[in-house]
């Protein structure tokens, strides 16, 4: 595979202050949503980012595209550090990276027609003037499997899967190189999920797209991704290619997560050994000292309380943050 790095995320931190008071606001605590993540995405690949609710995976996605300004760290996309850019420069960069959102019911303006929705990005960036724009909309709708004759309809006239297709057409309107998909299928029914996943795979092949696939469904992420990063409480605990992730998971959280995912096969299910984690994820306002996972970790030792484990490469391309590996 061509290993040209498209996106480089370095030590990305996003903290949300919790403020009290009306006139004289003061920060009383900080939500450690993303607590220092580092990874690269290569040109043309799909990187999956999985984790459970509140682990910071969506915030990471939003911080990459600068919808949420990071507290610190670098996001280098096509050679430019986005965290120091703003205004027109940043807007121009956004042409190259687009986002597909989770909820196709709330991410489309109900008062705009499909044509308006899909052509809006082109209008903002002054692309495809005049008749060319209508043609481009038709081309995009064809591309995502919608009939261009529906361009004058409103979102409520479409099903969930079709609406997600409209969202995809809108994201592709500016010919981005990187598409960040934030739970693109989790609001859809099972039989429709496969339609959208197949569409995303086809589009990647025909347009040479690079995906960051953010989701909680590990079997779907593993299916669609070349490499997978597993997040827990604001940090990436393990990153490797998707075959190795299943065959040889190293981090105890990854192992527990994999064993918790049900497999649609009764015989396989009966044979499985489950690692059941105790308790809940701690609050990101006061993450545990040292290793964030130590409070639920079956292997936790004294060092895990004292020292934050380093995110290190244990074999080529296989990164883990754990003292016990």
């Amino acid at each position: 595979m061509n290993q040209r790095t498209l996106l480089q995320v370095e030590n990305l931190v996003v903290h949300f202050p919790i403020q009290k008071g009306f006139l004289f606001q003061k920060t009383v605590a900080v939500v450690h949503a993303v607590d220092g993540v580092t990874f690269q995405i290569h040109q043309g690949e799909t990187l999956g980012l999985v984790g459970e609710s509140g682990c910071g995976k969506s915030t990471t996605g939003r911080a990459i595209i600068q919808l949420q300004r990071p507290t610190s760290g670098k996001v280098v996309f096509e050679g430019h550090d986005l965290t120091v850019m703003d205004g027109e420069d940043l807007r121009r960069m956004r042409r190259r990276m687009q986002m597909i959102f989770q909820d196709p019911y709330s991410s489309l303006n109900p008062r705009m027609t499909v044509h308006q929705l899909v052509s809006e990005p082109m209008a903002i960036h002054h692309l495809y003037p005049g008749k060319a724009r209508t043609e481009r909309v038709a081309e995009l709708l064809n591309m995502v499997g919608l009939n261009p004759a529906f361009a004058n309809r409103y979102p409520h006239e479409f099903s969930g899967g079709q609406r997600q297709r409209i969202g995809i057409a809108r994201a592709l309107a500016l010919e981005p190189s990187l598409v960040i998909c934030d739970e693109p299928i989790s609001a859809l029914d099972v039989s429709i999920q496969a339609q959208v996943v197949n569409l995303l795979e086809d589009l990647q092949e025909s347009l040479g797209l690079t995906y960051l696939m953010i989701a909680h469904d590990l079997s779907m992420v593993r299916h669609i991704s070349d490499r997978v990063a597993v997040m827990y409480l604001g940090i990436i605990v393990e990153l490797t290619d998707s075959a190795t992730l299943y065959r040889k998971p190293l981090h105890p959280y990854t192992q527990a997560l994999l064993s918790a995912v049900p497999i649609p096969d009764p015989k396989a299910e009966r044979k499985r050994q489950r690692i059941i984690l105790q308790g809940d994820v701690p609050s990101p306002i006061h993450p545990p000292s040292g290793c964030h996972f130590r409070t639920r970790c079956p292997l936790a030792a004294a060092i895990c309380t004292e020292l934050e484990p380093e995110f290190r490469e244990v074999s080529p391309g296989h990164w883990v943050a754990c003292h016990m590996v």
Partner: protein, 330 residues
Amino acid sequence: MTALLLDVQDLETRFKTRDGYIHAVNGVSFQLREHETLGIVGESGCGKSVTMMSLLRLIPSPPSEVVNGRAFYRQIDLLKASDDEIRRLRGSELSMIFQDPMTSFNPVLTIGAQVAEPLTIHRGFSQEEAMEKAAEMLSLVGIPNARERLNNYPHQFSGGMRQRAMIAMALISSPKILIADEPTTALDVTIQAQIVDLIRELRNELGMAIIWITHDLGVIAGLAERVMVMYAGYIVEEATVDDLYDHPQHPYSIGLLGSLPRLDASKRHRLISIDGLPPILTQKPAYCPFLDRCRYAIERCRKANPPLLEISPTHRAACWVNPKTGKERL
């Protein structure tokens, strides 16, 4: 074979809307035996929840109406029972847990009061006795410091703990049947594993029968003994869990299983998607409701809606075609 516990025949439920009737459940028949775990699988709008809500008479009428059917639980027809009788059964022998642990509790009552309520209302327990039993039940479902936790309000519980508390509430009256409507859908996967594990343990310990409603073919594979697949208000396939996953007979079941990526898949393959959308049930279809999305359809599918045909004594499917051969079933 264990004794028959619930016998449902030809259940039909429809909803009255401004644009006419929506036929949500179109003649559903099934049986449940003691200690059995039955899975009901289907996508949104297939009628799986409405079926159960109709049986427990939990859907408001109007707009809904049960137009046909019988549902016998110990010689009592649930659909015709008096309001008092059904209320008594719901509080003791037939329990239900719901999908969303966030909204299924009353936010201004303590967890203890809500978990203990069935006992004071239906069993004549005193407040103290009921609270004592509630604490026992909460520790049985794995809530630490159960006694102190009785005085907590729902917002002080995490999602997983609320679902545990709901299970405690449903099981406190030792029901014969536990109906679980997508009980883990709103939860994270590691918490889901905790809850499924808990239900499995409680089932062995308390011996109730379970009806588990879900859209997730993964969860049900490790839990149920028998599975029914629903589509457009019909049961389209019914089989033991092994038969269904190894030899699915209805094209819809085949599609559903093919559209799931498997975590243990060794190499990447394209998912089999089911084209198109489920029908809108403004009228009961005269032909097979899956026809428009089916790749096996033959002429006969256009003419008549297939009933559940027996494939083996433990396997039935509502399809005219044998998907293995692509030819009409004889």
